[in-house]
């Protein structure tokens, strides 16, 4: 599971109002090379919740991202930033671990990179 997906996933449990962002428990992180695409990064940047994204990337072990979201104009000029953004967004994979609902603490296990988001009967 990439941080791109983590950034848009929220806890779907009944009664939970504050289900985003999900906490991350890391057991295994894998890095996979992906070709960089500037257009995609520019398109997705406004939709990313930066705080959740930079916190998550730190948990995954990547500390190069800035704390504050940079100005959108940076995307056009700063290649170095784009590379870091790309790396954290698309190249870091959580292979084994869990996602944690911020409100209830319920864990969604992640196996082989696939988070199990199936809710139990009483959570729907």
């Amino acid at each position: 599971m990439r941080l791109l997906t983590h950034n848009i996933l929220s806890s779907n449990i009944k009664g939970v109002t504050n289900g985003f962002p999900l906490g991350i428990e890391v057991e295994k992180v894998v890095e996979k090379q992906v070709e960089i695409n500037h257009d995609f990064l520019r398109n997705i940047f406004p939709k990313i919740d930066w705080k959740a994204f930079s916190d998550a990337s730190k948990i995954m072990g990547y500390v190069e991202l800035p704390e504050e979201a940079p100005e959108p104009s940076v995307l056009d000029s700063d290649l170095d930033f784009l590379r870091k953004f790309h790396h954290a967004l698309l190249e870091l994979h959580l292979e084994e671990g869990a996602l944690v609902c911020p409100q209830t603490g319920r864990k969604f296990p992640v196996n082989k990179g696939i988070p199990n988001m199936l809710l139990h009967e009483d959570e729907v």
Partner: protein, 291 residues
């Protein structure tokens, strides 16, 4: 006539390892799924500006449809309820992220993040109550509601469905409308029982040119499209034009199947691993009528 999968078992049980195997080994299934995915992407009508979008593949299964999305240059996130099918997708090392989840429980995605969604042969599974705790209407409501919420402005969903009957078709449509979607149904090859395919094209945002529903494909180039339905009224009806079946036409013979077709078929069989006689100058030679 084979029984519908939806009537045999819930999807997480029906799509077990054996069934999932078929999705790797059967070239026929792969071909059909690829065609459906390509048509769905076509109907999604994403702007042709070379900017990769973030799409959802609902009921992504073995990742066949996801691969089509990747080939078209977009990023995707796939959701499926079957562990076995997702394992097949993992083996294929698909580019998109996979989620093990039940669409009837709601998608659980943040608002305004998704640029589009496709679904191949999945949404009709919501119409069956597979557990005593299931109520299809609630599941449809949860699915369409969460889908609508996670869409960015102007995003579309193209859902290829196999409704069992008209009632199911109406049910799916009505819950889509209630969630706030506009759009209609595109039917390809409406008169052919075998080739007929239904695509639900859903748009959100104010009705405009972009929300006009495209035409379906037909045998004689006839188009078959539905009216736009607008806005938030309950009890939306989407009219379906078509239904007068033509008189049984003369069987259209392609004047037999030419040499090219035979050679292509033989190549396919060879690829599958069958024993095939070699191609010679006698292959697909015209034989005497009494052969």
């Amino acid at each position: 006539m084979s029984n519908r999968p939806e009537l045999q078992a819930p999807p997480e049980i029906f799509y077990d390892d054996a069934e999932a195997r078929k999705y790797t080994s059967s070239s026929r299934i792969a071909e059909i799924q690829t065609k459906l995915s390509e048509r769905a992407l076509e109907l999604l009508a994403l702007p042709d500006d070379g900017v990769p979008r973030l799409l959802l593949d609902i009921g992504c299964g073995s990742g066949l449809s996801g691969e089509t999305i990747t080939e078209n240059g977009h990023q995707w996130i796939g959701l499926d309820i079957s562990h076995s099918m997702l394992n097949v997708a993992l083996e294929k090392e698909v580019e998109g992220d996979l989620l093990l989840g039940d669409m009837g429980q709601g998608l659980g995605l943040r608002p305004g993040v998704i640029d589009g969604a496709i679904s191949i042969s999945a949404v009709q599974w919501l119409c069956n109550a597979d557990k005593s705790s299931h109520e299809p209407r609630l599941r449809l409501k949860a699915f369409f509601g969460s889908l609508y919420r996670c869409f960015a402005r102007g995003a579309r969903a193209v859902l290829q469905v196999y409704p069992e009957n008209l009632a199911q078709h109406e049910l799916i449509l009505s819950y889509a409308m209630r969630a706030g979607f506009a759009g209609g149904v595109v039917v390809d090859y409406p008169h052919s029982t075998k080739r007929r395919k239904e695509y639900l094209v859903l748009t959100c945002g104010p009705p405009s040119l972009s929300t006009a529903v495209p035409c379906g494909k037909g045998e004689d180039g006839e188009s078959c499209s539905d009216d736009d339905s607008s806005g938030d009224e309950e009890n939306q009806t989407v009219s379906i034009s078509d239904r007068h079946r033509p008189r049984k036409k003369q069987k259209i013979n392609k004047k037999g199947k030419g040499r090219e077709w035979v050679l292509k078929k033989k190549e396919q069989m060879r690829r599958k691993g069958n024993v095939v006689p070699p191609d010679t100058k006698y292959t697909a030679r015209k034989r005497k009528a009494r052969f």
